[in-house]
């Protein structure tokens, strides 16, 4: 046990001494997460609308009056359809509305009045949401006599507030990146310098050495996570905490250990830091972007959705979201805990065999 703590202490000291690394890790856990959360809005915002109005006002004005800040910039008038399309091509305008002469006439006559809309569809999600906004506006004009009302409630996050979500996703991504990279590199650095063979030759159980080395890096990331949750998530964004905080901490600890296992795996197969960098990119990017942090997991290709079952991040993300937002009880969290722990055990079992042997 004394050896274990000696190795942990040595690793921590050498981490603290490289101030550049320390600064980057601190930056990642504080400012980086803050920036991602502060300005990211996936709901439409500042959408530039242009219109051509050949009706002479009236109903078209009323519709345009519904497009206001913060979702829309004040609509800009164009004199002809040509000018409007030109502005859309230059990306100055995202949505163009055409009210032609027949529009107002048909509306007054009681016929179907067609409102033509041009959308810049290079930003698919924004266009979709803008379109549904417009549809809602039009619906309120149409006021059908249909007596069904859809009462919708957004659970756990009433205003569908994106700031906390983006900040949480960013933090989970950062945890993943650092907890893979740091352990992988402390092992390979020793391999590169040749001191790893000496470690293996020493009369210490190699498993203790491996565990102690990864534990030191786990501690670093865990500490960063606590900083981030405390100052950024709770401090700046006041994220809701509907579940138990200790469940989150425990899940985080297991998760960091598991992804340190991925780092161990990368360290086992690579010979130099350059290779670690390349391999971890190869592993990390799919892991981060296809585990459901940034994009919904159930909309993915079925094969990839199955593949994501072996990603520990998938369990961690769903688990964390459940704890923060859904307020899931301890007993219902077992799939996340067992998924993370199971994957972690496999990775360490492989790591012990592969990197813990001299020959």
């Amino acid at each position: 046990m004394r050896i274990f703590w000696a190795i942990v202490a040595k690793e921590l000291i050498s981490f603290l001494r490289s101030w550049g690394l320390l600064a980057v890790v601190l930056y990642a856990f504080t400012l980086d997460v803050y920036i991602a959360g502060a300005g990211m809005q996936i709901r439409p915002r500042n959408v530039a609308v242009g219109y051509v109005d050949e009706t002479g006002g009236g109903i078209s004005r009323k519709i345009l009056a519904h497009l206001h800040a913060p979702e829309f910039v004040a609509p800009k008038r164009f004199l002809s359809q040509k000018e409007l399309s030109h502005a859309i091509f230059n990306k100055e305008i995202l949505v163009g509305i055409l009210f032609d002469e027949t529009f107002a006439k048909a509306y007054r006559r009681g016929d179907e009045a067609v409102m033509n809309i041009l959308l810049d569809a290079t930003a698919v999600s924004q266009s979709f949401t803008t379109l549904s906004y417009l549809q809602n506006i039009v619906m309120s004009f149409n006021k059908t006599a249909f007596p069904v009302v859809l009462k919708s409630h957004k659970l756990f996050n009433e205003n569908a507030d994106n700031h906390t979500f983006m900040a949480l996703s960013e933090m989970l991504s950062i945890i993943t990146m650092l907890s893979i990279l740091l352990p992988a590199m402390v092992f390979v650095k020793e391999k590169e310098e040749g001191t790893w063979d000496i470690m293996l030759l020493m009369p210490v159980d190699t498993r203790v050495t491996i565990l102690a080395k990864s534990f030191s890096q786990v501690l670093i990331v865990f500490f960063g996570t606590i900083l981030c949750v405390g100052f950024i998530l709770f401090g700046s964004f006041s994220i809701p905490m509907n579940g138990s905080f200790s469940a989150f901490l425990l899940l985080t600890f297991f998760y960091i250990f598991t992804s340190a296992g991925i780092g161990l795996f990368i360290a086992a197969v690579s010979k130099s830091i350059l290779q670690v960098a390349q391999f971890s990119m190869l592993v990390m990017m799919p892991l981060i972007f296809l585990s459901g942090a940034w994009t919904p997991i159930h909309a993915m290709h079925p094969v990839l959705e199955k593949l994501s079952l072996i990603s520990p991040l998938r369990y961690y993300i769903e688990g964390s979201e459940s704890i923060f937002y859904r307020g899931t009880a301890w007993i219902d969290l077992w799939p996340y805990f067992s998924g993370v722990i199971l994957l972690g055990s496999i990775l360490y079992w492989y790591g012990f065999r592969k990197i813990g042997k001299l020959f």
């Binding site: 500042n46 859809l150 799919p286």
Partner: protein, 371 residues
Amino acid sequence: MRAGVVKAYIIKELTELFRTRLIIIVYLMPSMILLLFGYGIRMEVTHARIVILDHDQSHYSRLLTSKFEDSKYFDPLVTQMPEQEALHLIKQAKAEMLLIIPSSFEKRLLHGQKSEIGLFIDAAFPTRATTMESYVQGVVLQAAAEVSPKRSEKGMITINSRNLFNQAMRDENAMIPGLIGLVLLVAPAILSALLIVKEKERGTIFNFYASPIRKHEFILAKLTPVFLLHSVNIFILFLWATRLFEVPFRGSFALYWFSSELYILISLGIGMLISVVTRSQIAAVVITVIITILPGFLYSGIILPISAMDHESYIEAHLFPVMYYNHILYDAFLIGEGLEAPTNRLYLGILLLYAAVVLVLGTLFLKKELK
């Protein structure tokens, strides 16, 4: 410029890259990421798992539920269970929405009274929640339009929308060019980030200190091999995008090629700058990862356009090259205005300036002697 010395250095660098078998990863990584992400990331909501509690079991309520069953956007589960249990399903993340049709639904409808349908959405993933909400609204309204009698004392307004540049609203068209921007930022940077710091850590940098080679020659020799290797990726990625994902290409290939080469140079320059200022390989890798992967994704315009950001993110988006490059890229693929559009000319100019600044800074910070 002494061509002989530079050539010797380039040959040495190339041999090293080949020997470490890194060459495989140089070509494997960008393609793999493009393929995985191209198939994996979907912004549109499909297969939303909705639990429908039909307390009415009448003609109209079945009409409504059948609308959900026919839609490709929903995977409905029509059952009867206590509401608490259904909420529990949402808490376990086994369902995303809960729709409750009250027991007097049909009766009230036939009497012309208002009846309320309750919808509960799991908003832990906010964008998805908002989109799902509008889909459900759409389905309900569509069903309503079918049963409600036509009335016309005042005209109905309908929307006729045309989607420019991406008529079919294909996710691929919106995603793949952005992914190229991400891949070409991350892959070259991570490769060049270690080029110099590796020598510093191993001590072989003293060869450079002691040799008569100048600083800019050294950097030229270091960057040329990786630059040439990654230039091939421009064509590989282009082929994947147009052939496999069938993204249209409407602009000029020359512009795409030139701006991509420039962008790779910037990316290599960023990596090299990191390599010059750091002292250990670990720090260099961590810095590169942090400042390329997430910003490359967030500020690429894949998940939201830059104009929709505000405050800090808006500023940070303008600090990274990915935004400028992607603008040109989307134009080349989907729009085809090319250099006629003033924004494209401006952004190309910014990229040129960016490349010059990064390379000059790298050369300035590189030291030629031991301090």
